[in-house]
């Protein structure tokens, strides 16, 4: 485990090598990042085994009294600023290995490996192939760093670096105006959230005197910190999490982020980076649970995001954007779960969603690769053209819809259980609505593009190379099997509930009544979707016309983007223009040039006494003499 630091470092080296010499070995530029990640996976597997098999008597490892989990910490000093010993700040490059970081790092490494293999096929004709791989390597490096870091400063560093990679990859095709605008939007919006995160970290330092997470948790646990402070710190951290995990009202950047290459969407904007917000909340969970108000806020934000995004997903016609809204919705669900004390459930859902959504995005990448179009209304009947993709896509979609035995089922069920148990009836009913909506949009995304009659000519569709299908197959296998780790398997070291937990281990157990209710709701939504999209019942068409206004609002994403645009165009930019004008007119022209102008004017007025004629000078001199004489006289007389 003490070699975990090598994973980000190797990838970082791969980033440097690839960005330096990538263009010389253009088609083989994938080698170094791939090598790095395979090595990383090896180190990870080795460490994971070590962790699972150890009896936790290793050096550096101890059981946290707050979280109850065993964590292993390794750190070296990074820098010290200020007067050493008296008034200084010490920061460390440290990583922690505990079940949470192992889970998220594992997800990141695995999905990244699959996506990188996939990308060899998907990106092979791109002129910036090398650039793509080097940024990918940088992303993996920082994502692993994010998952492993044991202090908030390092976490923030990694947090910003993944944001940078997201920016670079969304804007990968930077000639496209949409791509560059989307990249700018993504970075700016998440950056606004990061303001909160950074202030939160500063507050933590003020309170605790260090950035170390376990120091903070110990102090929080011992009740030394005022509840108001806990509320504000967790609120500020949550702002950062909202930005990164695209929670309402910061969600606007994620759908636009689909301008990036599809494998990027699969890795960064579905499986790993956007989950960082959820990860942050889970990381700082000991802090959040101390503030009941904060937990309610987290649940509410999660719920609003989840329902709002799910509704948009139901009407979106762009396949990738629909998937993006589905991602937002699921991230909201994870937040909701965290807010409802469903810690383990949220993380399990994070993993299950990560695998499934990566699979779905890669599926949409296949479609993009074959027919170069993403509008689902222009597809239809793809199952005959892309049979393998259809099956893989269905596995992912059904998993997220919550069909039993697929991984999404287990995690979703756990989430619903914790919501029903820990939150009131409004949340419970809303989560059922959410189950219905997610079932409905998933079946829509299956039926409309893949089944039914073809809406276009597929004769020019590209064949899919094996290198793209193989990683999807592996992912699909994981999606099918992964959920079972939720249960205790004989022979396995632990179930997920005893592996990753907050305060005390808790085995998963299926609650039959809730499971049956959700299953029924899901099947109902499938039936509903079948009636609308396959049978095309006229009653729904009429409904569509009747509810035109509502649908229009949803289709326009509640006009939130427009609202922001107006805010920026009509408020921020004019204000900035006003300040610039103020600077030029008032501060410069009046404040700085003003005295100069006055001096010059006065000078040019009084310089008229300089006539160049001697007698004028003499007259002035005489006047001066007379004045002096009078003054002297005055002094003498008085």
């Amino acid at each position: 485990m003490q070699y975990f630091w090598l994973i980000p470092v190797i990838s970082f080296i791969a980033f440097i090598i690839t960005s330096l010499i990538g263009n010389k070995i253009l088609k083989q530029a994938w080698i170094f990042p791939m090598l790095a990640i395979v090595l990383g996976l090896g180190i990870y597997c080795f460490g994971l085994t070590e962790y699972l098999q150890s009896r936790f008597d290793l050096e550096h490892c101890f059981r946290s009294s707050v979280t109850g989990m065993v964590g292993c910490n390794y750190s070296v000093e990074w820098f010290t600023a200020g007067v050493r010993g008296a008034d200084s700040v010490n920061s460390f490059l440290g990583f922690t290995v505990d079940p949470l970081s192992l889970s998220v790092a594992g997800l990141a490494i695995f999905v990244a490996l699959m996506v990188q293999i996939y990308s060899i096929g998907y990106m092979k004709d791109d002129p910036r192939f090398a650039w793509y791989y080097s940024v990918q390597a940088l992303f993996i490096s920082s994502m692993i760093l994010l998952a492993l870091s044991d202090n908030f400063l390092l976490l923030y560093v990694a947090w910003e670096l993944v944001g940078l990679c997201s920016y670079l990859l969304i804007g990968f095709w930077y000639e496209k105006p949409e791509a560059k605008e989307a990249a700018k939007k993504a970075f700016t919006v998440t950056r606004l959230g990061d303001v909160g995160l950074l202030i939160g970290i500063l507050l933590i330092w003020i309170e605790v005197g260090s950035f170390n997470m376990s120091d903070l948790f110990t102090q929080v646990g011992s009740g030394e910190i005022a509840s108001w402070t806990i509320f504000s710190i967790s609120g500020l951290l949550f702002l950062g999490a909202m930005g990164k995990s695209a929670q309402f009202p910061f969600h606007v950047w994620l759908p636009d982020a689909m301008e990036g290459p599809t494998p990027v969407s699969a890795l960064i904007h579905a499986a790993t980076m956007v989950a960082a917000g959820v990860y942050l909340v889970a990381r700082a969970y000991p802090l959040f649970v101390q503030s009941e108000a904060m937990m309610i806020i987290v649940s509410c934000v999660g719920l609003i995001t989840a329902i709002g995004a799910a509704l948009i997903c139901c009407v979106s016609v762009d396949l990738k954007r629909a998937l993006a809204y589905s991602t937002i919705s699921h991230l909201g669900l994870m937040m909701l779960s965290l807010g409802a004390f469903g810690y383990t459930a949220a993380i399990l859902h994070l993993l299950a969603h990560g695998f499934s959504k990566a699979l779905l995005f890669l599926g949409s990448g296949n479609i993009m690769h074959s027919i170069d179009d993403l509008n689902i209304n222009r597809m239809g009947g793809l199952k005959s053209v892309l049979p393998a993709t259809t099956i893989l896509f269905c596995i992912g979609a059904l998993s997220l819809a919550g069909i039993p035995l697929l991984s999404g089922f287990w995690s979703k069920d756990e989430v619903i259980v914790s919501i029903v148990h820990n939150r009131n009836i409004v949340f419970a009913i809303s989560s059922m609505v959410l189950v219905f909506l997610s079932g409905f949009y998933m079946i829509r995304l299956i039926i409309v593009p893949f089944f039914g009659s073809p809406n276009r000519d597929y004769s020019h569709a590209h064949k899919l190379p094996f290198v793209m299908l193989a990683p999807m197959g592996v992912l699909a296998v994981v999606v099918v099997l992964f959920g079972w780790i939720a249960l205790y398997m004989p022979g396995a070291p632990a179930s997920f509930g005893t592996f990753l937990f907050y305060s005390h281990p808790k085995n998963f157990h299926l609650e039959p009544d809730i499971a049956i209710i959700t299953l029924v709701i899901t099947l109902l939504s499938f039936g509903f979707g079948y009636l609308i999209y396959v049978k095309r019942f006229s009653i729904f068409q009429n409904m569509r016309i009747k509810a035109r206004l509502i649908i229009e609002i949803v289709e326009n994403k509640y006009y939130i983007d427009e609202l922001y645009q107006i805010l920026v165009d009509k408020l921020v930019l004019p204000a900035a223009g006003l300040v610039a004008l103020f600077d030029r007119i008032l501060v410069n022209d009046v404040g700085i040039n003003g005295p100069g102008y006055v001096t010059r004017t006065v000078g040019s007025i009084i310089r008229h006494h300089i006539t160049g004629r001697i007698y004028v000078y003499l007259a002035l001199m005489t006047t001066g003499m007379i004045v002096l004489g009078i003054i002297w006289l005055g002094i003498v007389i008085l």
Partner: protein
């Protein structure tokens, strides 16, 4: 014989600080009496000189012993000692070590990049070297009199450098001629230095009246610790220093000389202007104001902090709506120098070390930006961001480095700006939560205008008129890559600089 050569080395070692100042100034003198050579040969000669000064500054920085601390490489020659006690004193402190390194790097860069100067080459390099020597002098002086002398020596060449080799720009609704920029810069800075001079004279007179006339830092500091300067005295003298030095750091509302100066100045001069010259002010506040007048500092720091935060937000917001590349960077300098002022105003060791690190980091970063903007302007003959677009297609090298500099500017971790700003935030939040919150918000605003700049000019579809511009030449490549690597190195391993800065800050803190 061994002993002799040892003592010679020792001798040389001891006067290293003097050599660093004297070399560029002597070279400037020699250039003046040299027969007329071509501009290229003057460029070559001054590049060699600046390589040597760079070497010496690296040597000084590396040899600064952080365990011993204090003032090292002291070198004192009495100059006027009858009752006035002015001595030519030099010395290297923990803070000036990194500043000297900064000037060494930027001066070298500015020399290398100015190879395309054709008009009156000799005069240009004479002035450039004078400027560089003056800046070294300011950082190394340990006597107020010579501090001020070098300060003026550093400021004055700026006027000619901008007025003769600068460029005038028409912005449609208003124009900025090079003469205007130079005149404004000069007027504002000279007016500010009057304030500084008043403060210095006041300090001297105060010591004179107490029978211990001196200009030397160490002596003044000792007198100050013994309570020579009353609170009222410190209050008004520190105000003089704060405004006088503050103006040079772009203190709001006396900042407009800086963006206009940038717009008018040629590339190499812009680098020195934003990279080094603006640091002199903050250096003065930290190294002189706080140390000699600690009580005055405590009185005025709340005001300085508020003005600093105004600088940060105001500069960032102004930069948002600018359309000229140099204006954007000029206002971003105003914004970033605001962080330095805030950091100095915290009066705690973390904030001050952050401020010094920010001075270094901003110096390198903004020098890099001006190299690149100069290169773009040189090729495209415009700096209007509505005209420039998609440059990365034609100038990948320049643009990639520009993006790195931009991200350093917006405080991306891994580049030096982040650590510096973060330390300043830490220092500030110990004083006031809301100021810290505004400061962090300012960093987010930086992201807005930097990303806008990148989106407008660097990426996007390329215009046909810009599609056949050449990429950076070899000197621009060397300079920009070197500057960028400094940014990365300091960002990844800030202890490189922080070790010596901490020592310097410890000295300052002991005065408070």
């Amino acid at each position: 014989m061994v002993g002799d050569s040892d003592s010679l080395m020792n001798e040389l070692y001891n006067i290293m600080a003097f050599v660093l100042i004297a070399l560029p100034l002597m070279a400037a003198l020699v250039f003046m009496v040299l027969p007329n050579l071509t501009s290229k040969s003057y460029w070559l000669l001054s590049s060699i000189i600046s390589v040597i000064t760079f070497g010496i500054s690296v040597f000084l920085f590396m040899s600064y012993d952080t365990l011993t601390g204090g003032t090292q490489f002291s070198f004192t020659v009495p100059w006027l000692d009858q009752g006035i006690n002015i001595s030519f004193g030099l010395g290297l402190t923990g803070i000036s070590a990194s500043m000297v390194l900064l000037n060494g790097i930027v001066l070298l860069g500015a020399c290398l990049i100015s190879g395309d100067i054709e008009k009156r080459g000799r005069d240009f390099y004479v002035l450039l070297l004078t400027l560089g020597g003056g800046v070294f002098g300011v950082f190394l002086s340990s006597d107020l009199f010579f501090f001020f002398l070098f300060y003026e020596l550093a400021v004055l060449p700026m006027y000619l450098l901008i007025a003769v080799w600068g460029s005038s720009t028409d912005f449609g609704s208003f124009t900025r001629s090079k003469e205007y920029g130079a005149m404004k810069l000069m007027m504002v800075l000279v007016a500010a230095s009057v304030l500084i001079w008043v403060g210095i004279i006041a300090i001297f007179v105060e010591t004179y009246l107490h029978g211990t006339p001196t200009f030397a830092f160490e002596e003044l500091r000792r007198l100050s610790e013994n309570g020579l300067f009353s609170v009222e005295f410190q209050n008004w003298v520190f105000l003089c220093f704060m405004i006088g030095f503050g103006v040079l750091s772009g203190l709001w509302p006396f900042h407009t000389w800086s963006p206009d100066g940038h717009v008018a100045a040629p590339t190499g001069v812009s680098m020195l202007h934003a990279g080094v010259l603006m640091k002199l002010g903050a250096f003065g506040i930290i190294q002189i104001g706080i140390v000699i007048l600690p009580l005055g500092a405590q009185t005025w720091m709340p005001l300085l902090m508020v003005l600093g935060i105004v600088n940060v937000i105001y500069g960032a917001v102004s930069a948002m709506s600018q359309t000229d590349l140099k204006y954007i960077i000029g206002y971003s300098s105003v914004s970033h120098m605001g962080y330095v002022l805030i950091g100095a105003a915290t009066l705690n060791s973390i904030g001050i070390s952050g401020a010094v690190l920010q001075m270094f980091s901003h110096g390198i970063m903004t020098a890099l930006m001006f190299v690149l903007v100069g290169a773009i302007y040189h090729r495209a003959h415009t700096r209007d961001i509505y005209v420039l677009n998609g440059l990365i297609k034609t100038m990948p090298h320049i643009c990639v480095l520009f993006i790195i500099a931009g991200f350093a500017s917006l405080g991306l971790p891994g580049l030096s700006g982040f650590i510096a700003e973060f330390l300043i935030f830490l220092g500030v939040i110990k004083i006031s939560f809301w100021i810290a919150a505004l400061a962090v918000l300012g960093a987010a605003l930086t992201a807005v205008y930097i990303l806008r700049l990148i989106a407008r000019t660097i990426v996007g579809p390329v215009d046909s008129s810009l599609s056949d511009l050449p990429d950076a030449n070899i000197y621009e490549k060397i300079v920009s890559v070197a500057l960028a690597s400094v940014l990365v190195a300091v960002g990844v391993w800030p202890a490189l600089l922080l070790d010596s800065i901490n020592v310097g800050v410890a000295t300052i803190m002991s005065a408070l």
